[in-house]
């Protein structure tokens, strides 16, 4: 075994009292993984040592760049060689060292003894092959079962992951299933051959929170039923607390700390672990820190009344609209000066469509008034003037900055578009903005790829601030960031609000973040608002069943409060697509006191 530099600060994991029965299934000893670059080999994982016992769930937690995904790919022999390769150490499994096996031997282990599921269920299944074919070929690759028997085995596997009507699903294609269903198919595929080890790399990160609960529960049940050992890789400390028997915390390719989940959460021995745990937004934090007094001035920045947005689906000989997607249906709300108004809901509920309607990017019916002016009747010039007051920050800071422009020019561009200030004044204003969002004005000449995700989101914020808008629409603006970065960006947003008196329309699927930042909250479901009120009204006294389910589904980052059962959704989310001329039933909101609106029935 290599001398592991991390060993001095890490208690030897094998000394830990074992909660799970049985022997070690997998032993990683002094694993080094390097990436080949022009400047020589850069270490991605250094001296990683851990054991995985039979039937336990080991969580590898860490932020982006910690090497947690690289570790899982190294175990599977799926590193993008020769650019990235194992340069030292061993991975012992069933008496063999996986680090030295050739491709043919490794192939017999992959999928059969060690299986893996990935983060993106939407892209992890082949779009042109049926579910059945993809399941059956996995079984046939490792057994000599005849087609019929392999088929039965595939149906069993789909049954095991609680997919209804498994037999008929075999003929379906991935695009016909929702994200949660696809991830279940991935799990079925991974577990069809009863592997010893299942590696799950961020298996629920791309899923809605209520679906995440189901998938986690499924993994837990399958582990108990089959005795599979699970390596669960995640950045979400809530998921770690819900799932793990033991935890490894990684940072920059090294193991920082490891141990049983309870003690590690109760008394982390390393500062990094502690900061990671502190940065996690928790439900209840917002209430503890915040006062009940409502921010916001006298006036309204935005008045939305009866907003409806739909998209036609065309068909037939003449391409007439036959169906309509009712993305947003009869939604009304106001955003006051200087307040943070949050829209929360799961994917496809219409929250981003509302943002687009406000920015004048999609046609709508109903009335949107910005600072008292209705935007429906405005011409191009009027719209441009109004848009000055509304700026947006998007989810993906990598995609929303033009890679070929200097960041200083990107931040100054809105000023040019609206013809504000002379070039030298513009430079000064941009420099001041950089300073304000925590970047150095020296960095103005650089290009977006030279910045980290958090820095880029700061650049996006500076760009949104450039025109001194009255409203900033933040559409999932912190979702793609690591928790520690996320906490700092949220803090910056709050400071800027106090300083410049901006109102935010904050759109998120993350209940904990919403609770942390909002003054008022609206919960959306299928294009309609089902509950709206102040943060305290919605979070301490949720009235609508859907709001409660959303809150209950959030994993709690405390292993002591682990739930036996996640709330489960009954069936699939209904479709917002209706035949032309037929409208969905609209809910009516009723005031249950103090402006707390809840959908009746």
């Amino acid at each position: 075994m290599n001398a592991a530099p991390a060993a001095s600060i890490v208690p030897d994991v094998s000394d830990q009292p074992s909660g799970a029965p049985g022997e070690n299934v997998l032993s990683v000893n002094g694993l080094d993984v390097v990436a080949r670059t022009d400047a020589g080999d850069t270490p991605l994982v250094e001296a990683l040592t851990f054991d995985l016992r039979r039937g336990e769930t080991l969580c590898i937690a860490g932020e982006s760049g910690s090497g947690k995904s690289i570790t899982s790919l190294a175990i599977m022999g799926l590193l993008p060689q020769p650019a990235v390769r194992i340069s030292g150490g061993s991975i012992l499994f069933g008496g063999r060292d996986l680090a030295t096996l050739d491709e043919a031997a490794m192939r017999r282990i992959r999928g059969d003894r060690i299986a893996m599921i990935f983060q993106e269920p939407m892209t992890s299944l082949n779009p042109v092959l049926s579910i059945g074919r993809q399941l059956i070929e996995a079984i046939e690759a490792h057994t000599s079962l005849p087609r019929g028997a392999a088929r039965e085995r595939a149906i069993e596997a789909l049954d095991a992951v609680r997919i209804p009507q498994a037999r008929t699903r075999l003929k379906q294609y991935p695009h016909e299933l929702s994200g949660g269903m696809r991830q279940r198919v991935m799990i079925a595929m991974a577990l069809a051959l009863r592997p010893d080890v299942l590696i799950a790399d961020e298996p629920t990160t791309a899923l809605d929170v209520t679906v995440q609960g189901e998938v986690l529960e499924l993994l837990r049940d399958l582990k108990n039923d089959f005795g599979t050992s699970i390596i669960l890789i995640t950045h979400d400390m809530g998921v770690v607390a819900e799932m793990a028997d033991r935890v490894i915390v990684m940072q920059k390719g090294r193991m920082i700390e490891s141990g049983a989940v309870g003690p590690l959460f109760a008394a982390p021995s390393q500062d990094y672990t502690r900061s990671l745990l502190d940065a996690v937004p928790r439900l209840g934090d917002g209430m503890a820190s915040g006062t009940a007094q409502l921010a916001g001035g006298a006036g309204n920045v935005v008045d939305v009344e009866g907003l409806t947005v739909g998209f036609d689906i065309r068909g037939g000989i003449f391409g007439r609209a036959t169906h309509r997607v009712h993305a947003v249906e009869n939604v009304s709300f106001t955003i006051r000066d200087r307040e943070t108004f949050s829209l929360v809901g799961e994917s496809g509920c219409g929250k981003s469509t509302i943002a687009k309607a406000l920015a004048g990017l999609v046609p709508f019916t109903g009335d949107i008034r910005l600072g008292g002016t209705s935007i429906a009747g405005l011409d191009r010039h009027g719209l441009k003037r109004v848009r000055r007051d509304i700026q947006m920050i998007f989810q993906d800071p990598f995609a929303s900055l033009d890679p070929r422009m200097r960041v200083g020019d990107l931040v100054g561009e809105p000023l040019i578009i609206h013809g504000i200030a002379t070039p030298s004044e513009r430079r000064e204003r941009v420099a001041a903005l950089f300073d304000r969002v925590g970047l150095s004005p020296d960095q103005m000449e650089r290009y977006p790829h030279e910045f980290s995700g958090g820095q880029r989101q700061r650049i996006c914020i500076a760009r949104a601030l450039a025109l001194r808008p009255k409203l900033i629409i933040a559409d999932e603006s912190v979702s793609a960031l690591d928790v520690s970065v996320q906490a700092r960006v949220l803090e910056l947003l709050k400071e800027l609000q106090a300083e410049f008196g901006i109102a935010y329309l904050f759109i998120s699927h993350d209940m904990a973040v919403v609770e942390n930042i909002s003054d008022r909250v609206a919960v959306m479901y299928l294009g309609q608002i089902v509950e709206m009120g102040t943060r305290d009204q919605v979070f301490s006294n949720p009235q609508h069943a859907y709001t409660r389910r959303l809150i209950d589904a959030v994993p709690i980052p405390d292993p002591a409060k682990r739930r036996a059962r996640f709330p489960r959704m009954q069936g699939e989310v209904p479709s917002p697509v209706h035949a032309r001329g037929r409208s969905p039933t609209t809910v009516t909101l009723r005031d249950i006191g103090g402006g707390h609106l809840v959908a009746g029935n």
Partner: protein, 306 residues
């Protein structure tokens, strides 16, 4: 599906109408006089005028076009000025040869282009990759008649492997098919390479590897159907390229197809034949695109025709 087909056929009719108007107008505006060609140099002005009247070429454009269109709607492509035969008969006699050549050329394109593209993508950065990409570049850049003549020189004249020209056995087909297909093969190999490289990076290919599938299964069952989708749309467009290519290649190789017919007709300003060949070509392009669109849903279940 039925609605889709009906809509596409209506579109086809409109396209053909447009093609006929434009071609007819261009030929009408042509400075050369077809009647002089027919009458010959020694004809008297009276004879010329007689022929002009007989053919209806003294009428205004709109009348001429109307006559042609009403004939067309009854399936009548008119009579050749010089060959004393129905245009439809002439085209029908030569179309099979051209279709055969087209099949050979598409086969050559796909075989060469896809193989090279796949190998280059899998062995990215290797000597084989670089060699094939240079070769494909040459294939794309070289004029078709030059390729045709070079092939003739080496394989027929020097090596004597294939006949110099004509029509009959499979050996006659090889060189013209290659000459016509080499351009497309160059395009396809480059498209296939980039498409394949893109697909091999996809998450589902990683999933296939994680399942422990064999390399060949991953390549041909998981990657190829996804990578070939953009190529199929190209084949439809390609038929347009073929139509211009066969005019040259059929002449070089003495291949008795509609390309040669068109070439002769253009030299003698035989308007009914030029019109007929143009319309048949337009039909072929439209049908090619329609076929490509109809095949795609069988490979990609996400695509539904409506």
């Amino acid at each position: 599906m039925a609605a889709y087909l009906v809509r596409r056929l209506l579109q086809t009719a409109l396209i053909l109408l447009g093609v006929s108007v434009i071609t007819f107008a261009l030929l009408y505006l042509l400075p050369a006089d077809p009647v002089r060609q027919i009458a010959g140099r020694s004809a008297t002005p009276e004879t010329v005028e007689n022929i002009r009247r007989q053919l209806g070429l003294d009428q205004p454009f709109i009348v001429q076009y109307w006559r042609y269109l009403s004939g067309l709607l009854q399936g009548d492509l008119g009579r050749s000025y010089l060959q004393r035969s129905e245009v439809s008969t002439l085209i029908a006699a030569r179309l099979p040869a051209s279709l055969l050549l087209m099949v050979g050329a598409i086969g050559c394109e796909l075989l060469l282009g896809l193989t090279m593209g796949i190998v280059a993508a899998v062995r990215r950065g290797s000597v084989a990759d670089q060699t094939m990409m240079i070769a494909s570049f040459v294939g794309v850049s070289a004029p078709q008649f030059v390729v045709g003549l070079l092939l003739l020189y080496f394989f027929s004249v020097r090596l004597g492997w294939f006949p110099i020209g004509g029509y009959g056995t499979w050996k006659h087909m090889v060189l013209p098919s290659v000459a016509l297909g080499i351009l497309g093969a160059g395009w396809y190999s480059r498209m296939m390479r980039s498409s394949m490289i893109d697909v091999l990076r996809q998450d589902y290919v990683r999933t296939a590897r994680a399942k422990g599938l064999a390399r060949g299964t991953i390549l041909f069952r998981h990657a190829l159907p996804n990578a070939v989708l953009p190529i199929i749309a190209m084949i439809g467009i390609d038929i347009g390229l073929f139509m211009s290519g066969i005019v040259v290649i059929e002449s070089v190789f003495g291949w008795p197809g509609i390309g040669q017919l068109a070439w002769q007709a253009i030299q003698r300003i035989d308007i009914p034949i030029i019109m007929g060949v143009t319309l048949v070509s337009a039909c072929a392009i439209v049908i090619g695109n329609l076929l490509a669109d109809l095949v795609t849903p069988f490979i990609d279940p996400r695509i539904r025709l409506r």
